[in-house]
């Protein structure tokens, strides 16, 4: 019974103290905010921001932090942090600037508490008990928002690279070219094959030239992917010609013992296209010797 009462009392006094802190920060708002901005400027954390930006942002951040302290709700801080992360990343503000700024604010708040309670160590310690968790929480929210934003951008770029990296091009009726550039991993090989098969269906291709000049290295896995692509295309009724196998890759393939006997291979892309022309029954004839210039005909 007695213990409960003390607990209640403690709760009550902690709520009071919390309100006291909030009032204190509200009261000293202008002073502390100016101090904060000064500290940040001194540390060079505000580079690239206009005077107006600094004013509005610092007011918002200051007030948001106090609301968090007052209510114990962090939704406002979270929304604001996410917005800031989005804009900050766009504007190229460094994470150091943002996190440094918040650490400075934490410092300013802390100092003002020390100043206020310097003669009452017990009260100071209770005030810090209330203030510290809130400050830490806000910092972690902001840091997480920034990490999340960066991750989102990385994901988008990865997606874009994947999209860009697998063009399937039609050069003639029934002939496709698939130039592969860069490292092939399982995921990419799969995507590549799927896209190739879809294009074979839509463009009714009968010959596909896969050029691997731009593939830096081949291991047994990659070779296996290639064989799979060739097999799958054959099931769709298309013949595959592989070109651009460098001496190193040829050596690796032979050393690995990959069975490529079923594959049509031709030295370079030009030879591959000529071979494909031959398979499709095309014959490329030069009408007259050109003079090496391409005329832009004016109509």
């Amino acid at each position: 019974m007695k213990k409960e009462k003390t607990n209640e009392q403690a709760n009550k006094s902690s709520a009071e103290l919390r309100q006291e802190l909030v009032d204190h920060f509200r009261e000293k708002r202008e002073l502390l905010r100016q101090q904060w901005v000064q500290h940040m400027t001194a540390k060079g954390l505000l580079a690239g921001l206009t005077r107006e930006d600094i004013e509005t942002e610092s007011i918002t951040i200051y007030d948001t932090c106090i609301v968090c302290l007052e209510t114990g709700e962090y939704d406002g801080a979270r929304t604001y942090a996410m917005r800031m992360a989005e804009r900050g990343v766009l504007r190229g503000m460094s994470t150091e600037q943002i996190i440094g700024g918040l650490l400075t604010l934490r410092d300013v708040y802390g100092r003002s508490l020390f100043e206020r309670y310097q003669h009452d160590m017990e009260r100071l310690s209770s005030a810090l008990d209330i203030y510290e968790p809130v400050a830490n929480k806000i910092l972690s929210i902001v840091a997480l928002a920034f990490v999340a934003e960066r991750e989102k951008i990385v994901r988008q770029q990865q997606e874009a690279i994947r999209e860009l990296s697998t063009p399937v091009l039609q050069v003639r009726d029934q002939m496709l070219i698939l130039p592969i550039i860069g490292v092939i991993d399982t995921h990419r090989a799969r995507q590549l094959t799927e896209q190739l098969l879809r294009t074979i269906r839509t463009s009714r291709a009968k010959v596909v030239v896969i050029d691997i000049t731009g593939v830096p290295g081949v291991d047994s896995k990659v070779a296996n992917h290639l064989v799979q692509t060739v097999d799958a295309s054959q099931l769709m009724g298309a013949t595959v010609i592989v070109t651009g196998i460098s001496p190193e890759i040829a050596q690796t393939l032979v050393t690995l013992g990959v069975d490529l006997t079923k594959m049509n291979t031709v030295g370079d892309l030009q030879g591959g296209i000529e071979e494909a022309d031959h398979l499709l029954g095309y014959r490329v004839v030069r009408e007259e010797p050109g003079n090496g210039f391409i005329h832009n005909k004016k109509v």
């Binding site: 799969r190 094959t193 799927e194 098969l197 879809r198 074979i200 269906r201 009714r204 009968k206 799979q228 692509t229 097999d231 799958a232 295309s233 054959q234 099931l235 769709m236 009724g237 298309a238």
Partner: protein, 123 residues
């Protein structure tokens, strides 16, 4: 459900209309192998456009069917394998090996035409 087999000139066309059970597949194989002799066909086309799955049994049956038909003196072309089916087949290591494949019925007919051009059985 059994598969209808159509006679089109010198060729037989078996167009799969629904997913096939193992029994249906065996029946298709037996029907085609006997019809080839009956109609003195030179080529057989099996259209599998409708199939979403080709398992090892289907692949093996089609492969053995093609070999049987070859022994009966005709060529077999499997047409209409969908991209997803082709991809899963190679991933599972299922192979049609020496059996000819083509994109669709039209390509299959063209392939048979070109392969049986020199055939002088009918003059």
């Amino acid at each position: 459900m059994s598969v209808p087999i159509l006679k089109q000139g010198d060729y037989l066309i078996a167009s799969v209309q629904s997913e096939l059970s193992d029994a249906d597949l065996l029946k298709l194989r037996d029907d085609l192998v006997s019809r080839v002799g009956e109609f003195r066909s030179r080529g057989v086309i099996v259209d599998v456009t409708i199939l979403d799955v080709m398992d090892s049994f289907a692949t093996r049956t089609l492969r053995s069917m093609a070999h049987m038909i070859m022994l009966r003196g005709a060529k077999t072309v499997i047409v209409g394998i969908q991209p997803e089916v082709a991809f899963s087949m190679v991933q599972l290591g299922l192979k049609l090996e020496s059996v000819a494949t083509a994109l669709d019925l039209e390509e299959g007919l063209a392939l048979l035409d070109s392969q049986t051009k020199g055939d002088t059985r009918r003059g």
